[in-house]
């Protein structure tokens, strides 16, 4: 088997759009199944009431990472042909921080806002309008801030390279971290539920 299929020319550009649509259906379906079409469910993460965002996200990361690592190890997938976005460290740190604040202020992230919109949430419609406004604003000033946006370009950089550890070991450490996180998430939920119950008395 030679994968990624698209990179080996198994289908063309036009067909790739249909593939994109099908992948998107799967993506949207599981986001909604998880409850991520609800801003309440999403933001409960940040009040330790329901850590579903962390659980779903890290289960998905571990599943895809283990699958890809295995398929690459048996030689079915050429990892060098899987696109990894270049690291722009400082823009990503600042962007991530703004996005995190936007998450708790707005209630969604771009992907989940679309699922919320599709299931009738009017606040998601306003949120989507906000995303367009934000993109418009930064797109307009982009040429004058490239000094920052193009800074700290470290290229295609992975954690095994940063840590000077074999990829298999990093994969194992991420799995360990996720499992530890799942355990910790349950502890935090119970602790905050207990203190909330005490407050109500």
């Amino acid at each position: 088997m030679n994968a990624p299929f698209f990179k080996f020319g198994l289908f063309g550009d036009e067909a790739s759009l249909i593939v994109a649509f099908v992948i998107g259906i799967g993506f949207g379906f599981f986001l909604e199944r998880a409850g991520f079409g609800s801003a309440k469910k999403l933001t409960d993460q940040f009040y330790f009431r329901d850590m579903a965002v962390f659980r779903v996200m890290f289960t998905a990361i571990v599943t895809a990472m283990l699958g890809l690592f295995y398929l690459a190890a048996v030689g079915w997938v050429d990892l060098s042909l899987v696109y990894i976005q270049p690291t722009y460290l400082w823009p990503q740190i600042v962007g991530g921080l703004l996005l995190g604040i936007g998450f708790i202020v707005g209630g969604y992230c771009p992907g989940t806002s679309l699922v919320a919109l599709a299931t009738g949430k009017l606040d998601a419609l306003v949120f989507v309008a906000g995303v367009f406004a934000g993109i418009f604003a930064i797109g307009e000033v982009w040429p004058s801030i490239t000094g920052f946006t193009e800074s700290s370009n470290l290229g295609r950089l992975t954690l095994p390279e940063v840590l000077h550890l074999p990829m298999g070991l990093v994969v194992f450490l991420v799995v360990l971290m996720a499992v530890g996180g799942f355990w910790g998430a349950g502890v935090l939920e119970r602790r905050f539920a207990a203190s909330a119950a005490k407050e109500e008395k």
């Binding site: 976005q85 604040i101 009738g120 993109i135």
Partner: protein, 180 residues
């Protein structure tokens, strides 16, 4: 829920177990890696749509800005014939189908009990705008950087993900009246 006893619509089904939903999401992501050689995304589709809208209103202005021009020159013959645009259309369809099957499609506003609908809308707009700005600076959002970059062990993706949680937890106390 008991107060809606005269509501003829069936009660929404409970959400899927988070670990099962995570495995489903992970397999979709893995499928995208294997079939396409790339992961998932969302904010890029918003940018493509934004660029096309600006180009329709003020073509010279759009072509004069490299940020918009990059989006206008991508795609299979048309800037909207883009992987992420079609993927995002699928997200809308998939989300709707799942919601429909679970009885969760209904017109409503998601908010805590202590904020007005107008207040919620104002924060939703501000949060969306912050999200748009952040996603462009970081060259991706929760889907493209945290989920995809996370699974690919991208250094920038992991740095981004840590900062998203830091930003969310950091601002949560200030936003408690909106949600709790």
């Amino acid at each position: 829920m008991s107060s809606d006893s005269h509501d003829v619509r069936r009660a929404p089904a409970p959400y899927m177990n988070p670990y099962l939903a995570g495995i489903g999401l992970g397999l979709v992501l893995l499928g995208s890696f294997v079939v396409m050689g790339r992961g998932l995304g969302a904010s890029g589709a918003f940018s493509s749509a934004c660029a096309v809208a600006i180009d329709a209103v003020a073509p010279a202005h759009a072509q004069g800005n490299p940020f918009w021009r990059d989006y206008l020159t991508s795609g299979v013959g048309h800037p909207l014939k883009e992987f992420l645009v079609f993927e995002v259309l699928g997200v809308l369809v998939g989300g709707f189908l799942s919601g429909l099957l679970a009885g969760r499609v209904r017109r409503t506003v998601e908010k805590g009990p202590r904020i007005s609908i107008g207040g919620r809308f104002a924060w939703a707009f501000v949060g969306g705008a912050l999200m748009g700005i952040g996603a462009k600076l970081a060259r991706g959002c929760t889907s493209g950087q945290a989920l995809t970059g996370g699974a690919l062990l991208s250094a920038g993706g992991w740095a981004f993900m840590m900062m998203v949680f830091a930003g969310g937890y950091g601002a949560a106390w200030m936003m408690r009246r909106q949600w709790l």
